[in-house]
Subunit: 358 residues, 2 copies
């Protein structure tokens, strides 16, 4: 592992994005999104993604200095063309529209087409929660999920995120892929040389596999719930629901029409679809924050099956990781990540990231 000062990791990401022509503000917003994932202990959505964004900018597939625009709106909805900007630029723009409308009418529903990968969905839901609203974010992604009974993938890992502010400094934070696990977990088992648990992924014959290499090459993740007997069709249904909210509503690429996840800057824009929702809890019963805080605290205090493993409320793991990273002022990366970042620095003629190897 290599340890990097959080500010230095940010500096490096901003420099790389600027080196390929991204204006300062767009580069900073994208870097803030990525560093948040690294702080939250979700490295698959952090620095790890930087090179993909850089490649898409170099190839012209992403146009970071374009401007998103509203194509159609009503008092509580907006349809936005991201105009192929970076995912962070598009998502800040769209969630700002949602927040403003929700403050007026109580709820806003915004869909976006023509966008790019917008990182950790929770970052966007949190943006609305920071304004006192219930925030929700959904996005489609490249096909990786095999619907129940199918040999082939047809949907992405299509995340659902809901974040809401509670009293006493608490908050509800849910950010989940609708596959059983994200592809990063398969990669981790592969690196460790360990087999996969049941219900994670399929081999090319459409049957569950415990072989991490085969699963990685096949690229057919099982939906949340695993096989049919354990209700995997519900995870498939949720992934399909996210696609309905995103690509299908926004008129972006959708489902099997989204480009492959192994794409590496070979042209064509991603044209991803997102959906952002903001709801003002003040429109309903007074005391929302108190009831939410009481629930969160109740869950944590439930008697655990294993006394060494206390019950966690949604988001507890992420908040703990972020707090630890912030105390240290550093984020940590695997050796492979440190090496590929050094190579990227050289390729882009950017000052390499200062790393303390552990």
């Amino acid at each position: 592992m290599g340890k990097v000062a959080t500010a230095e990791a940010m500096r490096f990401m901003v420099d790389c994005l600027k080196a390929v022509g991204t204006a300062a503000r767009a580069a900073e917003q994208q870097a803030e999104l990525l560093i948040q994932a690294d702080r939250f202990g979700h490295p698959s959505h952090g620095l790890n993604r930087l090179e993909m964004y850089v490649n898409d900018i170099i190839s012209g597939a992403c146009k970071p200095n374009n401007e998103p625009k509203v194509l159609k709106e009503s008092p509580s909805t907006a349809w936005i063309d991201a105009n192929n900007v970076l995912g962070a630029t598009a998502s800040h723009y769209a969630m700002d529209v949602a927040i403003n409308k929700a403050k007026q009418t109580g709820v806003a529903w915004v869909t976006v087409k023509g966008s790019n990968h917008n990182g950790m969905a929770g970052f966007w839901a949190q943006k609305a929660a920071d304004k006192g609203l219930i925030g929700m974010a959904f996005t489609n992604t490249s096909p990786l999920l095999a619907p129940t009974r199918s040999k082939q993938s047809a949907l992405g890992t299509n995340p659902i995120s809901v974040v809401a502010p509670a009293s006493q400094g608490e908050s509800f934070y849910l950010d989940m892929a609708t596959t059983a696990v994200a592809v990063g977990k398969i990669e981790m088992q592969r690196r460790k040389g360990e087999p996969l648990p049941a219900g994670w992924a399929q081999g090319p014959d459409g049957r569950e596999t415990q072989d991490a290499d085969l699963a990685f090459e096949t690229g057919c993740l099982m939906p949340l719930g695993g096989g049919e007997r354990t209700s995997g069709y519900k995870g498939f249904g949720l992934a399909a629901m996210v696609e309905l909210f995103c690509g299908i509503s926004a008129g972006a690429n959708y489902g099997h029409h989204v480009r492959s996840w192994s794409h590496s800057g070979d042209g064509g824009p991603a044209n991803l679809g997102h959906c952002f929702v903001a709801v003002d809890p003040e429109c309903f019963a007074p005391g929302f924050g108190d009831r939410l805080a009481e629930s969160i605290q109740h869950w944590r205090q439930l008697e655990p099956t294993d006394p060494d493993l206390p019950v966690l409320a949604p988001g507890d793991k992420e908040k703990k990781a972020a707090a630890e990273a912030d105390v240290k002022g550093t984020v940590s990366y695997v050796k492979q990540q440190i090496e590929s970042s050094a190579a990227l620095a050289e390729r882009l003629k950017v000052k390499p990231m200062e790393v303390e190897m552990e």
Copy 2:
């Protein structure tokens, strides 16, 4: 099994509800909700539930002839007090408010307190879809779900439903409990004397159990995803999200404060919370229905792992069951159900249901 003409099952349910003082329209609406579940092949939410409603009316826990009212509203939201009416009355009222507001502003978000069990969530999402909208329905229910790592239950089976109209006579129909399975599936294994698959339910020690009797007595279902290793915390997170939308937002009973599912008409109102959402797809990209139909048809045509088990789109199973029931003009009930309905008829001095035993 016993076969009953669909109209006769309806007649019986309406008569029972009227026998305990329910006005005709409320009785008919509740019976329509129940018969839909029987037609859809979800008998746990059909006639099976009738006696619970009847008992709650007799005990005074439910007041079927009250009227729901809007407590607070904005252009796109409403907070409703169901005033303790039957779930069907409350839900028709609330979804009508949502539909009208969504037609005006593009989206509506409505929460309800003071309600009773409102049956199959999909019935309510379908009501909005029938008006050309994307309909969503959520409700809290009695505690049965054990959060990941917990020995105790803390949330209900809290369903999520999303229904949307598509072109070519297609529609997207998702209606799912956020537990791995509904309690009815445990009952079915118990009746058959078969063990439970992994990931369904816990015993009193908090460990997974394959013992259907023990699982039924313990009443701790596992969330969608099963154990922690297979991401059961996502199912827990979804159940918690539903509670946030329902009881927590609406100021109804919530989570562990909701009365036990084994309650049998002993007084105190349920005070359940629901949430209804309607979104007008016309507010976004033209061609929504075409893209949705194309997706649904694509999923069905995916190459299946087992050639005898074609891939199903969300809702295909329910639509097939309903079509078959409608061709026959009958619904079927297990012997136990037939017997308890006969006893109920006698208790309420209502004409018994005409049954053809098979």
